[in-house]
Amino acid sequence: MKFAHLADVHLGGWREPRLRELNTQSFCAAIERCITEKVDFVLIAGDLFNTSLPSMDALKIGVQKLKQLQDNNIPVYLIPGSHDFSPSGKTMIDVLESAGLAVNVARGEVVGEKLKLKFTVDKKTGCKITGLFGKKGGLEKHYYYELIKEHLEAESGPKIFMFHSPIAELKPEELAGMDAMPISLLPAGFDYYAGGHVHVVQHEKLKDYPNVVYPGPVFPNNFAELEKLECGTFVIWDNGAVRHEKINLKPVAKILIDAHNKTAGEADALLEEAVDKAQLKDAIVLVRVEGTLRQGKPHDIDFNAMQQSCLNKGAFVVLKNTSKLESKEFEEIKVSRASVEDIEEALLKEHAGQLKLMPADKEIQLAKELMRVLSAEKDEGERIADFEKRISSDVDRLLGLSRTDGS
């Protein structure tokens, strides 16, 4: 049996158009390789799309590639991820499944107050596949607690369990702050655990859980991931051997400037020198400047000139990160976090508990959900009135409000 395991495709992700395009290309390359490798089937362990209502472009490419797999007699089994679900629980994955392009394996029935999952059997190989989707805020955890595991564990193999959640025992040190669920929530004894959600490249063998695998994202999702992973990855399982496949599309050039105790001018000069020395042809250039400036402010460093220099040297795209750059002149502004999500998390934690309406952790969760819902953009072709109604109804649902005036 040979299959491919992808996760965290995030089609439509990246605001920067060239990186969004690269993200799409990476997905296409992965599918091409699945076809070349003649895999029996493909698993996508959540977050095929970046948003629950993806753009027309993202949807189009997603459908094209799934159709291409189907034309090559390669079925696709997937689970929705936390990005695939709208607050009302709707997901574009349902549409793809209705069109016969993929099979959502998160299926089952409620027995009493428990959840009994069913297997989906791959006709070609006889492999039995089941799994549970991921939800925002790790809400899928409750499904796992109510999972009837006996029949899943008793089923003879080969069998695969798909999940879209962080596992506590597998978390690397840099993700220590991330909420995760224990592996004991998953049914034991499957041949392969196809994970998603955590953008790491990992293959662990735990007691009763022989192959727990995170393939990594099909393309890195942000600056830090590009820095760490450099390219997208997916996994090929070839008769028991797990192989992490890299999708190298562009070289990554990393420029790190330690600006600690330097003036903005000195940091600027260092940056210029580093750019001069670096090989940047067709590269994704990652510029990170960090430390506390002795004099001057971060914006005194001429990043525009730096960017232009990089592009002049043939760079594909230039990204800068100054989240760890501080100025002594503005010490009250402390930005020590790496990403927007981290900063939001830190600020929410700092201010949580002021309302006293609910426990602080629930308040943080609600605030995050509200931010996400309220930052939704109008979809292509959606009328303003419909958009407003959608947002309003999502907010009501989150706050547990019901409207009686028909508005």
Partner: protein, 528 residues
């Protein structure tokens, strides 16, 4: 007024308002005594009990009293009583006292606990009138005790002797836990049920995080009712075990790189050169120091080979690892690869007001202490260094079973450990201990005195009772008999955060579990 069974006198009725009439049964009459030792003649048949709470209504309000001793009283001289009993025993004379209830009776020695005016409680400073009648205490008399406050720590229901009064008793949990709690009692008197109850009621609270080192693997409830049955368990209880984990539990693995020499203080006996060798390895190899010591890599400081050999052997046994050549094989919870985020995860959970239970049932004593030491050190250090804002952070309490294993005089003579440090200065950082023991006398006096809340269950051994009484927040010098007579589930709580030593009854844990119901779950998103 007369009935067949019960004689009620006008003085038994106290008019509270024009509409309400409360019936209070007179249980005795104050006859003499002094402050703190008032003598009451028991009304025939009212059977006063040791520890019973009583009320004397006074012109200013009420006086709360408690029985601490019972003696016989008689209108006949001792010689006559002895003669009469001889007649009955030896001559088999059919002997009956004329008006017996008047002549032979029971006297109760009672003490003033507090005076109550307008539902406000103050320390008692006056005596009730001589010949005042005393009566049963009611829930309304002590309503001031059931105030929950912002940080409620439920410790049981008010108890009067062996009777339970429907008044839940709460401590200010944030203060009580940071100022340390001692739970003392002989085996079988309810220490475990009490701890289950405390953990159950603090689980959902935001003011505290609890770290439980559980040598009997009982609190999560792998096979019995436990914290896993709490409606908030999934979000608030984190259970680590080295054995096959039940659903929702985590496998305990700690990465060797998270150890520092300070964690080993008080864990094993180290000679000075051995201790210095630990630090020398740490200085040279930093995060890799344990691996380096196990592999016998070179270290600065002219240590004898024997010393390094002992260090290597001690570490290897304690950490459950073996070395062949330069390859380290991990057999236990300490690991070269896995467990990189375990300590961080545990600290995060505690700082998020969760309860972390670590099943230490398969560990040796030193291993258990080492694990506790790693986490306790980390919690304390983060708060000391200001990484965690103590002002807004929850109080973290570390539950230690058989506390003398880490707080015993003999252990501390070998050198201080982090638990003793927490006992002495943890409160500044809102880190406290909940120490459970049947032998409090083994804990040094200054540490006992620092434990400002003591929950005393039945204690049979006199030296143990003495150790508690001498270090109690309230004067318990008259309560030795009461403490000795406490039944299972009965306790006395002395605390700086209670107005007087309060008798409580801890409800059976099954009752507590039954009183909570789980919310129904929906399974939206699952395809048929």
């Amino acid at each position: 007024m007369r009935t067949n069974t019960y004689r009620l006198r006008i003085s038994d009725i106290i008019f509270i308002t024009s509409r309400q009439v409360a019936l209070f049964v007179t249980k005795g009459l104050i006859v003499s005594g002094q402050f703190g030792d008032i003598l009451v003649r028991e009304k025939q048949g009212k059977a006063l009990e040791l520890g019973e709470l009583l009320i004397a209504d006074t012109a200013q309000g009420k006086m709360l009293l408690q029985v601490f001793d019972l003696v016989y009283g008689s209108q006949l001289a001792q010689q006559q009583l002895e003669l009469l009993s001889g007649l009955k025993l030896e001559e088999n004379v059919g002997l009956q006292f004329f008006d017996e209830a008047m002549r032979n009776y029971i006297l109760a020695r009672i003490k003033n606990l507090a005076s109550i005016t307008n539902n406000q409680c103050k320390a008692a400073k006056t005596l009730p009138q001589c010949f005042s009648e005393i009566r049963d205490v009611t829930a309304a008399d002590v309503a001031f005790l059931s105030s929950k406050g912002n940080n409620p720590l439920f410790v049981g229901k008010l108890r009067s002797g062996s009777k339970v009064i429907d008044v839940p008793i709460y401590l200010d949990g944030s203060k009580a836990l940071s100022h340390h709690v001692l739970i003392a009692g002989t085996t079988g008197r309810g220490k475990s049920v009490l701890m289950h109850t405390l953990l159950w009621h603090t689980l959902a609270e935001e003011y505290c995080g609890m770290l439980v080192l559980d040598p009997h693997d009982e609190y999560y409830g792998r096979n019995n009712p436990g914290l896993k049955d709490h409606p908030d368990a999934r979000d608030k209880a984190v259970y680590y075990t080295p054995r096959s984990p039940p659903t929702g539990a985590r496998t305990l693995k700690i990465n060797l790189s998270h150890l520092v020499p300070a964690h080993f203080r008080g864990v094993l006996e180290w000679s000075d050169p051995q201790r210095q060798a630990l630090y020398a390895y740490y200085q040279r190899y930093e995060q890799r120091w344990v691996e380096s010591a196990l592999r016998g890599e070179p270290v600065d400081g002219n240590f004898k080979e024997d010393t390094l050999g002992v260090v290597k052997r001690q570490l290897s046994q304690l950490l459950g690892v073996s070395i062949q050549g330069t390859t380290i094989t991990c057999h236990g919870i300490f690991d070269v690869q896995a467990g990189q985020s375990t300590v961080e995860d545990i600290i995060k959970a505690l700082e998020e007001s969760k309860t972390v239970i670590i099943d230490t049932s398969e560990f040796s004593g030193p291993q258990e202490i080492l694990i506790g030491s790693i986490i306790a050190n980390e919690v304390l250090e983060r708060r000391r260094k200001g990484i965690v804002n103590v002002k807004t952070a929850p109080v973290i309490s570390i539950v230690l079973e058989e506390a003398p294993r880490v707080l015993g005089k003999d252990i501390l003579e070998r050198g201080p450990n982090v638990f003793a440090t927490i006992a002495r200065e943890g409160r500044k950082f809102k880190v406290g201990l909940t120490a459970i023991t049947q032998l409090p006398s083994l804990i040094p006096r200054d540490i006992l005195a620092n434990m400002n809340t003591k929950i005393i269950l039945g204690v049979e051994l006199k030296p143990e009772r003495q150790a508690i009484i001498e270090s109690a927040a309230q004067d318990l010098s008259d309560d030795e008999r009461t403490i000795a007579s406490l039944d299972k589930g009965e306790a006395i709580i002395t605390s700086n955060f209670l107005p007087f030593a309060t008798p409580v009854r801890i409800p059976p844990f099954e009752e507590t579990v039954k009183a909570f119901s789980r919310p129904a779950r929906s399974f939206s998103g699952i395809q048929p």
